[in-house]
Every structure is written in structure tokens, then in C-alpha cells.
Amino acid sequence: MDGAELAGKIFYTWLTLVLGFILLPSAFGVSLGISEIYMKILVKTLEWATIRIEKGASKESVLKNSASVGIIQRDESPMEKGLSGLRGRDFELSDVFYFSKKGLEAIVEDEVTQRFSSEELVSWNLLTRTNVNFHYVSLRLTAVWVLGVLLRYCVLLPLRVTLAFIGISLLVIGTTLVGQLPDNSLKSRLSELVHLTCCRICVRALSGTIRYHNKQYRPQKGGICVANHTSPIDVLILTTDGCYAMVGQVHGGLMGIIQRAMVKACPHVWFERSEMKDRHLVTKRLKEHIADKKKLPILIFPEGTCINNTSVMMFKKGSFEIGGTIHPVAIKYNPQFGDAFWNSSKFSMVSYLLRVMTSWAIVCDVWYMPPMTREEGEDAVRFANRVKSAIAVQGGLTELPWDGGLKRAKVKDTFKEEQQKNYSKMIVGNGSVTSELD
């Protein structure tokens, strides 16, 4: 019986500690400064490790680390220059040179597929999962790594799991309860409270350190907030600083449970990406939503899929057609402390969360940017691109024209046809290309 009693006591003390030091402060949005101290120690340790690794590394491995720079230097010259011809020149047998060079370059290194897998690190961050690049350096470094493993798995992980469990169950229970209330201002205020509190708890469960920049541009009610997308954590990070009505893909599993609970309290819109009917419905709902200036700003990730936080891919035009004010937000995670990218084809939501909870921390910058509106005569696609560029510049991300949907689907034939058309124009001149095939 003693054993059970002891276990009960430990559990009780544990819960009290968690409740007293983390839950209560997070409910009221204050910080005790413990995580700040942790972060300071962490930064110092990683800096030290980097120096050790650089010292210990031979010349060769320094070379290898430059792998993240690239394998080749691409020839970016456009087709006209690559084929060194003017419009209206004749076909030459050597024209295949250009296409083969382009093709081989894409095989060796392409812009798109590498964005769907984790970013490469410049220096080892003392996590076992990323040390493929780095070999044994010194005893001291190994000792620090062992300490790190113990800390992460024996202290941080149980703490974080407890927090996440409490946070998520509170969210599900809270939103379900609030959902029972009739629609009025009390309901929306309560719902906001539940969302904010639970998100703060969950962010603490990930040891999230978030710096918000330009708070004066925080998305206003009745507006649309668009951000680059790395992981479902994005939502937590943004909601910690203010509530949003969310729009997104329906998920199953843990995400599904959370989604279904949340929608009861707050007018989130969940839809099935592949259903045309759903998409029309979403547009309609969005229009209604932004017409009412009292409603929460809508949060949309127009890339439609998670990218590994090195680049911003094509913004789908849907959210830019509705009109209204767009509040762009750039989110940039610091990969040194843990990989925030959710590779949904490789990891389920739960195993992804466990991976995050066993890394050092989630550190990120959030930049609120000045609101943007569609200019006179500007179409939705061009507007979407303008917003995308702004986010890319602010977040220090590479801007790519490609559709993030390529993660799941094949590239559309129209892009190939475009290439063929350009080439045709070159070898027969403008006039004779059948223009009705546009």
C-alpha cells in the first residue's frame, strides 16, 4: 500500500507544482521568468557547442557543412538567352542542349521538393535526430549531450505532456461548455477567454518563446489575417496574442477532436480541401464574416500546406478575392532550438507533438505587418503575390512561385504547355503560332 501512497503523493505534488507555477500564471498571461532563464542557458550552451564543433571539425567536414549552400550553381538564364537565338530563328538540333541542361539541373537540385522536408542545420543543436551531419567531437560535448537527453526526456517531456494534456482537455471541455450558451456577447467573451488561456498553456507546453514585432499592426476585427504556414503550432502562436476565427482543412485524429470542439464556441470554418462544394461554401461564409465588423479577424494560411519555414510558396487566390483588409503576418521559427515543420506525410499529429516536446524549445518571431488592400485594377492573383512578397521579405524567407499543393499532386500540364508555347514562338516566330490555343 505504501508504494501506491507514495506514487499518489508524488502525483499530487507534481500537479500542484504544475498548477501553481505554470497553469495559473498562464491563465492570467503573466510570466515568472523561469523560461527566460532556461532560454538564456540554452543559448549559451548551443553557442559553446558550436565553437567546440568548429574547433574539432577537420577541414573536410567544414566543407561538407557547406552542403546546405547547394550542389550546383544554377544557370538562371531564360529560354531566349539559353537558346542564344532571336525570335523567328529556325530549329536547330542543338536546341535539346538547353532542355537537357535544365532537366539535369532540376534532378540534381530543385527548388520545390526540398521545401517539403526538414531544413538543414548549419551547426548541430545537440539533438540526436539531427546529428547525422556531425561526428564525435569531444568528451565534454558528449557529456553535455547526455545531460541534454536526460533533461529533455526525464524533466521537460513529462512536464510538457502534462501541460499539453491539461491545455488540450481544457480547450475541448471549455469550448464544448461555452458552445452550449446562446449566441451573445457573453459567449464570445467566454470563448475568447478559453481560447487564450488554453493556447497560453499549450505554448508553455512547447516552451514557446515568441517575440511579437509591430504590435500596432495587430489584425483588427472584421479583417483577414494571412500568414505563412509551417505547422499547426502557427495557430497557437498567433492565438496567444489574440483570438481569430480560423479557416482550414478538416483533420482527423487529435486535430479533428480539437477542431470539432472549437467550432462549437467560435465560428471557425473547417472544410474539405478537395470538395468543390465546400470551397464555394467557404467563400460565402467568409464574405458574411467580414461584412460584420464586430466579428473576430479570420486567420488563413493561403499556402494551403505546411512548408519547412525556409520559403513562402504560392498563395491561393481564394482568400484575396473576397475583398476586405488583409493583415499579413510573417512567422519565422529559429531552427536551432527545434524543428517546427510538420511533415504531415511522415509524422502523425501526436508523434509530431512528441518530437517538438522533446526538442529544446520553439523559438519564433512574429511580425505583424501594415494592412494591405487590393488596388484598383489589380486582380486577386497579383494581389496574392504582392502580399506573399511582403511576407517573404519581412520573414527573411525565399519566395517561390510554385504551388504548395505539389506536395500531394502532380504539376499541372499547363506549365509544360507554357514552355512549349514559348519555344514554339522562338522557332517559327510570333505570327504563325496558332493564337486561339491560348
Binding site: K64, I71, K102, E109, Q419, K421, V433, T434
Partner: protein, 268 residues
């Protein structure tokens, strides 16, 4: 992930590739990690379908290759061939065993227990920038000789080597050794094979038309394309067989800067 490759690639193999293709050590390891990342694919279903659990593995001492054969027989099966020195259960992709009794495991690593060494046609087709290339399919084909649908790292590197720039010290090399893969003639041969669909060492009018059609899509009429093909063949044909042989192909492209146009700037 530069140096994971170096732990998976065996040193002697790396040396052989270095000698054959002329790539440097660090280039090979970087290209190897690219190759394995191509192989993985994104959705993981391809991998799951290909997985088969056990095979027999043994060493072909004569060629230094490790071979795998599907696990068909009783547990104590021993290959009769005396050059087979050991035997061990080994997981292998189903696809890599299809069609042949034995699979070369030379580019695998025992400890990882899987073959990262094979890329398939679909793996290439998933690269969007290649999928929009009008000649994408022909280029992919260049990696898969003799109608196979998989390529190992060695073969992959051999094809890539055609696009290595010709360095100054290679130009003056003595003519005794085998011709390097990135020579002008081999670069031209690569281009020639893009046209030569039936591999009879001749580009017929029909083949030229088909490749032209790939390049222009629906934008040019049959008639116009026909006249382009006729003119091209007429200009190149010297022996009057209404087709372009490799010698004629080389002659036509005599003045073209092949070295520059068919070279990729690989970083060191």
C-alpha cells in the same frame, strides 16, 4: 545531409565512382544525399508497397558485389556457387527484386537494413521543374538504360557525369585511358540519344518529328513541323539515307559550344 552519405557509401565504392565520373569526394557525398532524398518520395506509400521483409544476401567475391535473392527456400539454403561466402536475412524493396532473381546490393549499408540505392521513374517525375520540361520524359529515360525502371547510385552518377564541365587538366590528358564521360563526344552522344528513340543509332524523320512535337506541344501545325524536320535532315544528311547518323550529328554541331551548353556548374 552531407556526411550521412559518407557513412552509407563504402570507401572503395566512392573511390570507384570518383575514378569513373571525375566528381570530387564532397560532390559525390552531396549528390548521394540528393539521390536518397529522391528515392524517399513524399507520401511514403511507394515505400510501403515496395517493402518485403527477408532475402538472402551473399557476396560475389569475384566482382566484390553483394547480392540478394528473394527468400524462397528453406532456412538452411546455401547457394551452391563457391564465390558466395555468407548468408544473412536482409530486408529489401520488393520492386528492386522484381524481374530478376538477384539484386545487386553493392550500394547498400548493412546496418541500416534497407536499400537506399535505387531510384525509380516516379521519383524523378515528382520533381516539378522536371515535369514541366518539354523533354522531361526523354531526360528521365536517359537514366534508365535498356528499359529498366530503376537506377542505382552508380548509374545515376554515370549519367550526371556527362554534364560535368571539362576542366583544363582533363583536356591535356593522354589519350590512353578510357574517354571521360564528360568529353565533348559523350556530351553529344547524350543529346543524340534524346532524339534516337529506337536506339538504332540513327535519327529518322519520324523520330525527329516526335521529339519536335514534344518540344512544341500543340502550337505548331503538322505541316510546319514536317517542313522543319525535312529541312533539318536535308542539312545534316550526307549519305542520302534520309536519316541522321551520329557522325552526321557531330558534323552539324561542329561549331556549337557543346562544352559550355551541356555543362552544369557543380560546386566543389
Amino acid at each position: 545531409m552531407g556526411s550521412r552519405a559518407s557513412t552509407l557509401l563504402r570507401d572503395e565504392e566512392l573511390e570507384e565512382i570518383k575514378k569513373e565520373t571525375g566528381f570530387s569526394h564532397s560532390q559525390i557525398t552531396r549528390l548521394y544525399s540528393r539521390f536518397t532524398s529522391l528515392d524517399k518520395g513524399e507520401n511514403g506509400t511507394l515505400r510501403a508497397k515496395k517493402w518485403v521483409t527477408l532475402t538472402l544476401v551473399y557476396v560475389d567475391r569475384e566482382h566484390g558485389h553483394r547480392l540478394a535473392t528473394p527468400f524462397p527456400k528453406q532456412k538452411d539454403y546455401v547457394p551452391e556457387d563457391p564465390s558466395c561466402t555468407w548468408l544473412k536475412p536482409f530486408p529489401v524493396y520488393r520492386n528492386s527484386l522484381r524481374g530478376s532473381a538477384e539484386t545487386d546490393l553493392t550500394s547498400t549499408h548493412e546496418d541500416t537494413g534497407l536499400i537506399p540505392g535505387l531510384a525509380h521513374r516516379e521519383d524523378f517525375q515528382r520533381i516539378p521543374e522536371l515535369a514541366i520540361n518539354p523533354l522531361g520524359d526523354r531526360i528521365i529515360n536517359a537514366f534508365f538504360p535498356e528499359g529498366e525502371d530503376q537506377v542505382n547510385f552508380r548509374g545515376f552518377m554515370r549519367t550526371l557525369a556527362h554534364f560535368r564541365p571539362i576542366e583544363d587538366n582533363e583536356k591535356s590528358k593522354d589519350m590512353n585511358g578510357p574517354e571521360p564521360l564528360n568529353s565533348r563526344s559523350n556530351k553529344l552522344h547524350f543529346a543524340f540519344r534524346l532524339y534516337d528513340l529506337d536506339k538504332d543509332d540513327k535519327i529518322s524523320r519520324d523520330e525527329l518529328l516526335q521529339v519536335l512535337r514534344m518540344m512544341v506541344g500543340v502550337n505548331i501545325s503538322d505541316e510546319q513541323l514536317g517542313s522543319i524536320a525535312d529541312r533539318t535532315i536535308q542539312e545534316a544528311d550526307q549519305d542520302g539515307d534520309s536519316a541522321i547518323s551520329f557522325t552526321e550529328f557531330v558534323k552539324v554541331l561542329e561549331k556549337v559550344d557543346v562544352e559550355q551548353k551541356m555543362s552544369i556548374r557543380f560546386l566543389h
